[in-house]
């Protein structure tokens, strides 16, 4: 289960943003440990973990929207000194996507799930899941220009 840690972290970073990602990650794996004995032996563990992460992310987003007025991090806040250097432009671009598109992009392009699984997680049709991911990626290509020839290395 733990070898999916990297994937789940990428997914929650995309879905809830860096600030809440660590909590979403921890809550996902704690919930998974609790529920693990009931998981059928032939289940797709990664899809199952992403499903849990999806629900935890919804909880966190709901709680966050009830919190006080959101303010941007001041330039010298500790949040900007995280261990991971991350591209704030990408965060902003992903964060600006409508939730369904952001989720579909994360579950397909970061977790590698097939649209049949994503449709179950998003409670939508396979066609709608595929469309949400395609629309999200199309927007990202505009708002966060990833290199056009599929070579993304020069961005890192």
């Amino acid at each position: 289960m733990a070898r999916h840690g990297v994937t789940v972290l990428r997914v929650v970073r995309a879905v809830v943003g860096h600030a809440d990602a660590d909590d979403a990650w921890s809550e996902t794996f704690l919930a998974a440990l609790k529920a693990y004995p009931r998981l059928p032996a032939d289940a797709n563990v990664e899809a199952w973990l992403v499903t849990i992460a999806h629900r935890k992310a919804l909880d966190i987003t709901r709680t966050a929207s009830r919190r006080a007025v959101p303010i941007a991090d001041p330039p010298d806040s500790p949040a900007r000194e995280r261990a991971d250097t991350h591209d704030l432009d990408l965060d902003a671009a992903v964060g600006a996507l409508p939730p369904k598109q952001r989720q579909a992009v994360a579950y397909h392009y970061l977790a590698g799930l097939p649209y049949s699984e994503i449709a179950l997680i998003l409670d939508s049709s396979v066609v709608a899941a595929r469309r949400a991911a395609a629309d999200g990626i199309a927007t990202l290509r505009r708002t966060y220009p990833m290199t056009s020839q599929g070579n993304a290395n020069d961005r890192n």
């Binding site: 289960m1 004995p37 995280r82 991971d84 990626i137 056009s148």
Partner: protein, 199 residues
Amino acid sequence: MTAINLTEHFPVDPDHLKRLHARLERAAQSGDLLDIAYRTVDSAVGPLLLAATPLGLLRVAFANEGHDSVLQNLSARISPRILEAPTRLDPVARQLEEFFTGRRHSFEVALDWSLSQGFRRTVLEHLNTDIGYGTTTSYAALAGLSGSPKAVRAVGTACATNPIPIVVPCHRVIRSDGTVGAYRGGPAAKRVLLDLERH
């Protein structure tokens, strides 16, 4: 449309993930959700997988056993609540290091015998208490110690399936003709352990 590798745009710092795992380990432990903790250590006989329950050391596995398949087997037989959680294994990891540098001749760790039943367990418990560092015994002698002098083949099986090798010293059981015989970690690993204890 060109293929997109979005994961490259989401780099994950291994140290950050390690800290998250440590936090999860503590939370799981206090929530009674960590049935099996595991880690790997390097040794003179290659990387070893160590797995422990709250009762004690459950499994030591050599690389040739395939650590992934060993973990899958533990998940099916004992509990799927398995986490890479080094803290629980710190004492045995330290003692193994001392053992491999010749500074330790016996292990002081609690053992979880859940993977051994019946006669096999009897054999391994005798092996654990009766055959000291630097000595060897034969399968026939161990059969006698275990109360079934004729069960030499069964003793061989018990040793070959020892779930806690090195700590429970099945490497000290050799063939009556003096050759080292089979070993879960391969005959070369057995040779290394016997040579280590001769110095």
